[in-house]
């Protein structure tokens, strides 16, 4: 699921425009973003605090399995790598 400081309405527009069907959560005060240590203070429109791009894979026990923090706002995790990581999580232990 995706998390940003955008309002529900903005995220709804994004989902409609792009056809995304996974959950988009709204964190307008960047509370969760701050708790996850991925705040990019003052980098948004009009100096607003926003999230910096990051992908975290959490397993069913709540353990963080992979963390991808970009060092370049242009570069994001590629979908095929994330899918491979999820496949790996779903394999039986030792497999």
């Amino acid at each position: 699921m995706a998390i940003s400081v955008d309002s529900n309405a903005e995220s709804r527009r994004l989902c409609q425009d792009q056809g995304y069907t996974f959950p988009f959560l709204s964190d307008p005060k960047a509370e969760v973003i701050r708790r996850y240590g991925v705040l990019h203070a003052g980098a948004g429109e009009n100096g607003r605090d926003i999230a910096w791009p990051a992908e975290l894979l959490v397993d069913a026990a709540g353990t963080i399995r992979t963390v991808n923090l970009t060092d370049d706002i242009r570069v994001r995790e590629r979908p095929e790598i994330v899918l491979r990581e999820i496949d790996y999580l779903q394999r039986p232990a030792g497999g």
């Binding site: 998390i3 940003s4 400081v5 996850y36 240590g37 791009p53 242009r74 779903q90």
Partner: protein, 149 residues
């Protein structure tokens, strides 16, 4: 004052073609090439376009100064050459310096740590809780993004 010799000089198309490629190189990244990971992470298509544009411009300027009796473009070539260099500089600054100006992520959770639980509203305003989602899903991918402007 026009001299008769000037009337027969050719239009120096290399200069304009070169500047055209440079312009395309500068403005095509965001709407086109940044959409595909293969041309986004390293903007090689745009750099190639800059290279081609620069080469054509250089060839055009060279012949404008080397054979001024045959080709026009001494002033136009110099102006477009400077503009092309400025576009290239802006492109490099945006992609290789500005895009990497990020704060330290030392506060971010590490692999193996427990993900902090949270509840946030989805697009309909319905609260979504991470620990609740974990009960029905084998893995959850959290994607933090800058927002949709």
């Amino acid at each position: 004052m026009l001299q008769s010799g000037l009337m027969h000089r050719s239009w120096n198309s290399l200069i304009w073609a070169g500047f055209g490629f440079t312009l395309v190189a500068a403005i095509s990244y965001v709407p086109i090439f940044a959409r595909f990971p293969a041309t986004r992470d390293v903007p090689w298509v745009n750099l190639l376009l800059f290279l081609l544009g620069g080469w054509l411009l250089a060839a055009g300027i060279k012949r404008a100064y080397g054979e001024p009796e045959r080709y026009s473009g001494k002033i136009g070539g110099a102006v477009l050459g400077v503009l092309a260099l400025a576009l290239f500089g802006l492109f490099c600054w945006g992609n290789f310096i500005f895009a990497r100006r990020l704060p330290s992520a030392s506060g971010a959770p590490q692999q193996g740590q427990t993900a902090p639980d949270f509840t946030l509203p989805d697009v309909t305003g319905k609260p979504v809780t991470l620990s609740e989602l974990r009960k029905t899903n084998r893995a959850i991918l959290l994607i933090f993004y800058r927002g949709y402007w």
